[in-house]
Symmetry: C2
Subunit: 149 residues, 2 copies
Amino acid sequence: MAEFNDQTTLTKSEIEAGDIFAPRFDNNGLILAVTCDAQTNEVLMAAYMNEQAISLTLETGFVHYFSRSRQSLWKKGESSGELQQLVEMRTDCDQDILQILALQTGTGAACHTGRKSCLYRKVVVENGKAKLADLGMQPLFDPKDVYNK
Amino acid sequence: MAEFNDQTTLTKSEIEAGDIFAPRFDNNGLILAVTCDAQTNEVLMAAYMNEQAISLTLETGFVHYFSRSRQSLWKKGESSGELQQLVEMRTDCDQDILQILALQTGTGAACHTGRKSCLYRKVVVENGKAKLADLGMQPLFDPKDVYNK
């Protein structure tokens, strides 16, 4: 796939209203992708993509990210079997974020903890202090079985 | 509100499984918040928060961000009237992103272009080149009327 357009050569109007895809990568060449269940809109996870991950996602129909901790391309589900099938890729007004609408395959768990979504806790304030409360999302697989093979 | 916990003093297990809220801020003290319609789950926008924005959002029930371009706290809707009422704040497994579930007040437009959502374009591939296609989301207000008063 051809390289993406360089956002710095475009006007605000071209970025916001045009049909030119010019993702705004950060200093590390990464852009955040928020991945949602294509059927329910539910946010499943957020992770970074580089140019190669975007291209491979579009070309193969399976979602690829760039792992910051491993500093390498990461085909989602390659170890766990929890592949994500691309339905649609969107970008926002200033093109500094991507949204991925996907079908979560495998057991249906996008999170490495085995839950459907990484967003399994909410913030609650008690006595003026913020803490987390579990939303009760049950694990669909046991991470020990999946990652320690 | 008390300061948030320092993630660097916690174990992976405490970050992922506990009730300790310890958002992982970047080098600029910011964390990305993905804001969704609390009724439909639809992603409306993404923007950054600093500690103060998180605290004010929790304390006041109205969503605050930190504007990177203006380098200042930003109460969403202060100029446009499009305030966001907080329903729930969530965080993900490694606490490096926030999800805000909100009720979009005003005309119902989260985007400065007047559309309900900032994600109004999808990526399509034509002849091996990625470009954007408008999803047909109609503006709910005219930005010229709202921001050039």
